[in-house]
């Protein structure tokens, strides 16, 4: 009887803890919406989303987040172009090609990169990469989309790589052996069997890595240049959403239009990362059978 009671007690404690963290997160979301929505008394939703100018502190303020959204997206897209192939290929190398001893060295190093504080990466981008870009490409300023995308790619690669590597590693060897038995080469097996079988895990890795990149604040605040424009070239400065919030929140008068507008930018950002995670969930669910159906 007492054993039964203990079990019940433990169960309810865990339930309570789980409920608490969910409620807390939910309350933060409620707060975000309570503080953000009042901006739409001042500007229409259309003006807010498609407005071309972000001048929140003028006497006649303009709250157009379009350049900020585009800024976030171009930086994340550029980071993806660099990080996705590199991350996945590193994962394939570690899981399939590399010598066991080499893999045991490379894998922890890649994972260690994930623990690099973002402010350090940002500082590196500002002090080392920026002057390098200026001299190499002969451009007027090194704090730009290119630099920010490069730094975010650094941050996304470890996530993409380690999740993909786990997925590739867990492809049942029977499938691969079947492929070899039919006469396929190692390369053919990797491309036609192993990757499709681990697609669910790889996509999850890619999306988690990129949602980290799109929500990253410190790096873009330091190296993206912060001009609220729609970039025309890779070397134009941009102003992604997180850095706008971080840079302006401290000085925005409490409960002013600017304050509400920054929370509304937060809502926009939340919507995007939420969609990203939803997509990750969906993809990992949809392709779930591929890897495990055999074992």
């Amino acid at each position: 009887m007492s054993q039964f009671n203990t079990e019940k007690g433990v169960q309810s404690i865990f339930l309570l803890i789980a409920l608490m963290s969910i409620t807390l997160l939910f309350l933060i979301m409620v707060f975000l919406f309570l503080e953000g929505l009042p901006i739409f008394h001042h500007v229409s939703v259309k003006e807010f989303i498609f407005g071309q100018y972000w001048y929140p502190t003028d006497d006649d303020p303009a709250f157009g987040v379009f350049p900020l959204v585009i800024g976030s997206f171009t930086v994340a897209a550029f980071a993806a172009v660099l990080a996705v192939p590199l991350g996945i290929m590193t994962a394939i190398y570690i899981a399939e090609i590399a010598d066991r001893r080499i893999a045991e060295i490379v894998k922890p190093i890649v994972e260690l990169m994930a623990s690099m504080p973002s402010v350090v990466i940002g500082f590196f981008g500002m002090v080392v990469v920026s002057p390098f870009l200026q001299q190499t490409f002969n451009i007027p300023v090194g704090l730009n989309l290119f630099n920010a995308g490069l730094m975010l790619a650094f941050m996304a690669i470890p996530t993409i790589c380690s999740i993909s590597e786990d997925a590739i590693f867990s492809v049942p060897s029977a499938i691969k052996e079947g492929s070899y038995a039919l006469g396929a080469t190692h390369l053919e097996t990797i491309i036609k069997i192993t990757i499709p079988a681990s697609l669910s895990g790889i996509s999850t890795g890619v999306i988690l890595g990129l949602s980290r990149a799109i929500g990253e604040t410190m790096v873009v605040l330091m190296v993206a240049g912060g001009a609220a424009i729609i970039p025309e070239s890779l070397f134009d400065p941009v102003r992604p959403m997180p850095s706008t919030i971080a840079a302006e929140m401290g000085e925005a008068p409490y409960h002013s239009e600017h304050y509400y507008a920054l929370f509304a930018v937060g809502i926009t950002l939340f919507a995007f990362t939420f969609l990203f995670n939803l997509a990750a969930d969906y993809i990992s669910y949809k392709y779930k059978q591929a890897g495990e159906g055999y074992s």
Binding site: P56, M126, S130, G225, G226, G250, Y254
Partner: protein, 270 residues
């Protein structure tokens, strides 16, 4: 429901501040530009009055004034004057912010040390930041596209720049915006065609300060009023201060306090 939560939070805050007042404690919040001054003064004041405990934090001018309105600080530091909207908000909560002018600052336009330009008129500065002048050779420098660097639109420094140089016109969107004085120094020092602006205390030998209308940005020219881009810095209190808050403000405004102001890289008011 929303009001209930708010009033509970408000009660908690007042309870916290009320207890802190009794124990001889002071809380200062606000502008990062005023922070070095507040820090030096707080250290000296605590050394003279060991039973007083002063808590300091930054967060920006807006936060400093907000802290006075919310009652979460005894003194709110601000590198700009209070805005109309903030006064209204304060009045709606029966709070009367009182400003004390504690120091001056002068904002100097800066360029890369290799630049040949050493003087700019206010009009030239304005047109550079409006995007009308885009090449250094138009203002007496070498041929090269001007890289305009500005501060974030919510910083106190930017507001002074916008009011005094831009006459409230908009800085071009292409301008790089950088979140702090220190980062501007970094960026200008590394970018040969850049122009930026920083507080006097941040001038280093890595960057070159430019004369404005042939006047050098300096303490002397700020005090005699000949340098055109200057601003006062404030400490705000709720109502006319009493007790510990009053004696701290009096200390900042004393000869000793003003000496600390200039030690912190700002300009004393007398």
């Amino acid at each position: 429901m929303k009001h209930l939560i708010k009033s509970i939070i408000y009660l908690l805050f007042t309870a916290i501040t009320a207890s802190s007042l009794m124990a001889g404690e002071l809380t200062l919040k606000g502008s990062t530009t005023v922070l070095p001054i507040a820090q030096k003064c707080a250290e000296a004041y605590m050394a003279e009055n060991p039973d007083v405990k002063i808590t300091l934090s930054g967060g920006g001018s807006g936060n400093g004034i907000k802290a006075i309105i919310d009652g979460t600080a005894d003194i709110g530091n601000s590198s700009r004057f209070i805005k109309g909207k903030e006064v209204k908000l304060a009045q709606s909560k029966d709070i009367y912010p009182v400003p004390f002018r504690i120091a001056l600052d002068c904002i100097a336009p800066v360029v890369h040390p290799s630049s040949k330009v050493s003087n700019l008129t206010m009009d030239q500065l304005k047109n550079i930041y409006l995007g009308n002048i885009t090449n250094w050779k138009d203002v007496g420098g070498k041929d090269g596209k001007i890289v305009v660097i500005s501060r974030d639109s919510s910083s106190g420094t930017f507001e002074v720049w916008k009011k005094l140089v831009m006459h409230k016109k908009r800085v071009i969107p292409r301008a790089l915006t950088i979140p702090s004085n220190g980062a501007i120094v970094q960026a200008v020092a590394k970018t040969p065609n850049a122009i930026g602006y920083v507080g006097l205390g941040y001038l280093t030998k890595d960057i070159k300060a430019v004369l404005v209308n042939n006047v050098k940005p300096s303490e002397k020219n700020t005090l005699n009023g000949s340098f055109p881009i200057t601003r006062p810095m404030f400490m705000f209190t709720n109502n006319w201060p009493e007790g510990e808050t009053m004696s701290f403000i009096a200390f900042v405004l004393s000869k000793k306090g003003q000496a600390l102001v200039s030690e912190a890289g700002s300009i004393p008011i007398f």
